[in-house]
Subunit: 179 residues, 2 copies
Amino acid sequence: MTSRIVQFVGGTSGEWAVTHSATICGDPLAAVTAIAVNETPAAAPQSWSLRGAISNLRYTNASERSALQARQAGLGRAQAQCAALIPITKSAAWWALAQDERLAIYSRSQHTQVGMEYLPAIERRLHHSRDLDEPFDFLTWFEFAEADSAAFDHLLVRLRASEEWQYVTREVDIRLRRC
Amino acid sequence: MTSRIVQFVGGTSGEWAVTHSATICGDPLAAVTAIAVNETPAAAPQSWSLRGAISNLRYTNASERSALQARQAGLGRAQAQCAALIPITKSAAWWALAQDERLAIYSRSQHTQVGMEYLPAIERRLHHSRDLDEPFDFLTWFEFAEADSAAFDHLLVRLRASEEWQYVTREVDIRLRRC
């Protein structure tokens, strides 16, 4: 069985060099100079190690999935020399909501639509961490070309201004460049 | 942080004695005579060890949640001397569906409504295993009094006849009695 779990190891070595890091809210993560992305968790953690599972869709409906698939180019493109790792935790109030209540907030926040506007320039992979007893609920990984860095910043401004982000209690924004 | 992960250890010792076990579909699990339920995973596995996380609601809406909460009595009742551990795996086709497609099948199958009819006699706790790289996708734990055993069998017959169960590719049904 292929592992669904991806490990992000922060330290002094790895295929991605840290160019900038900021704590958006909540507790910071220890500063590191590089991140290794291991599809199969094995390496000993250097400074920290965060794990998340590639999982099924939780809010995306069938028509949104089709629209996303039509625009996605996938990770690992040669021109995508920039990346971001954004670990996020949401509040207990968020997780206590029923599925329809969370979906309504997610939809009003236009999370899928906003992200779709930036495809395929800004590619994204979501990793679910909460059920793994991890310190964050989600680890989102983005890849994009240097020329699209300003667009990526704009995407984040829009998401962080949304109703959904009122439930975010911890967020760290780590920017990277391929070594 | 409290662990969300519960470990079910099958072997020759534990607080629950196996009274009967059946493979409903897919590969069997090794036969064991007892199961230990460890809220904090620590014990070395005896024959096998299955883990699952207590997580947020995935399909239940707010009104269903209220109705469920009004009827639930919780686990650990003195009269609930019987239990069942039912590990289940669903097909790749199920997991490839978008959220609205899975919700539609779940709703048409009346999964929540059928389960609710048997509350509080048949108490249930769902554990999510798929994102933990476990062999099963779900571990459902039920507790009920001896007198409600026939009702429990009836509940399972109804669920297994549902559209949702057409996506179940592996299911083992282990019946237990408190030692």
